[in-house]
Symmetry: C2
Subunit: 137 residues, 2 copies
C-alpha cells in the first residue's frame, strides 16, 4: 500500500471511531505530509470541517501561506463540491482520490485523478459500507 | 440605508483599512446578527478566510450547529464559487448580495438575490474602485 494512501485510511479510521462518516485527507509537499484531516462535522459546529478542508488549512498554517502551489491533496473519497472549490482556491497542483462517487465526472479537470490501488480501495469501500450499516441516520 | 447593508459595509471597511480587498458579510437569524466577517485572506494563511465563510463559521459556533436553516447571508459582493458552495452546504435560506460581478448568473438558484439599494451599492462600488486604485497588485 502506498504510504499516502495508508495515511488517508488511518485518518478515515479516526472519523469512523468518532461515528462520523469515515473520510481522510492529507496534503503533501516535496514528499512530506504537511497537513492532515479527517471528517469531523458531526462533532463540531463548522460546515467546513470536512477532511479535505481541515488538511488544507493545516498545510496553509504550516506554510504560513494560503497558496498551496506545489502541493498535492490526497483524499479517500471523491470530494464534495464545497471541498473541490476550496481545493481549487488553495491552488493545489493535484487532487488524488481513492474511491469514486456518482458525481465523479462533475468537475471537469485534469488536476483530479483516481489513485491506482485496488486493494486499498476495497479496504476503504468496506470501511464505508460497514459504517453506513452500523450508523443508520 | 438598510441596517444589514450598513453592517456589511462596515465590515468591508475593516478589510479596506487592513489593505485587504473590501468585502463584508453577516449572517442573520430571526432579525438578529449571529455572525460577521470581513475578507481577511491577505493577512492570514487560510484560503477560507473570505468574509462569507468567516461569518458562516461564527454563526455556526453561536448556534452550536453547522446547519444554518432559517438563516440569511448578506454579503457586499456576489460570492466566489468557494463561498457559494460553503453557503449552500451550510443550508442558509437566502443569500443577499449588494454588488454584482461578471459571473452573477453562474450559480443558477432562487436563493440568491440582489439587494435593492442603489445608494449603498454606489457607496460600496466607490470603496472597491478606490481600493483597487490605491493597491495595485
Amino acid at each position: 500500500m502506498n504510504e499516502y494512501i495508508e495515511e488517508i485510511i488511518k485518518e478515515a479510521q479516526i472519523s469512523y471511531d468518532n461515528k462520523d462518516i469515515p473520510i481522510g485527507a492529507i496534503v503533501v509537499k516535496n514528499n512530506k505530509i504537511i497537513g492532515r484531516g479527517h471528517n469531523d462535522r458531526l462533532n463540531t459546529p463548522d460546515v467546513t470541517n470536512h477532511a479535505e478542508i481541515i488538511a488544507i488549512r493545516e498545510a496553509e498554517k504550516n506554510l504560513n501561506d494560503w497558496r498551496l502551489d506545489g502541493c498535492d491533496l490526497y483524499v479517500s473519497l471523491y470530494p464534495c463540491d464545497m471541498c473541490l472549490e476550496v481545493a481549487k482556491a488553495s491552488r493545489v497542483d493535484n487532487i488524488y482520490f481513492l474511491l469514486e462517487r456518482d458525481n465523479k465526472n462533475k468537475y471537469n479537470s485534469t488536476i483530479i485523478n483516481q489513485v491506482e490501488d485496488d486493494v486499498s480501495r476495497e479496504t476503504y469501500k468496506n470501511m464505508l459500507s460497514t459504517f453506513f450499516k452500523e450508523n443508520v441516520r
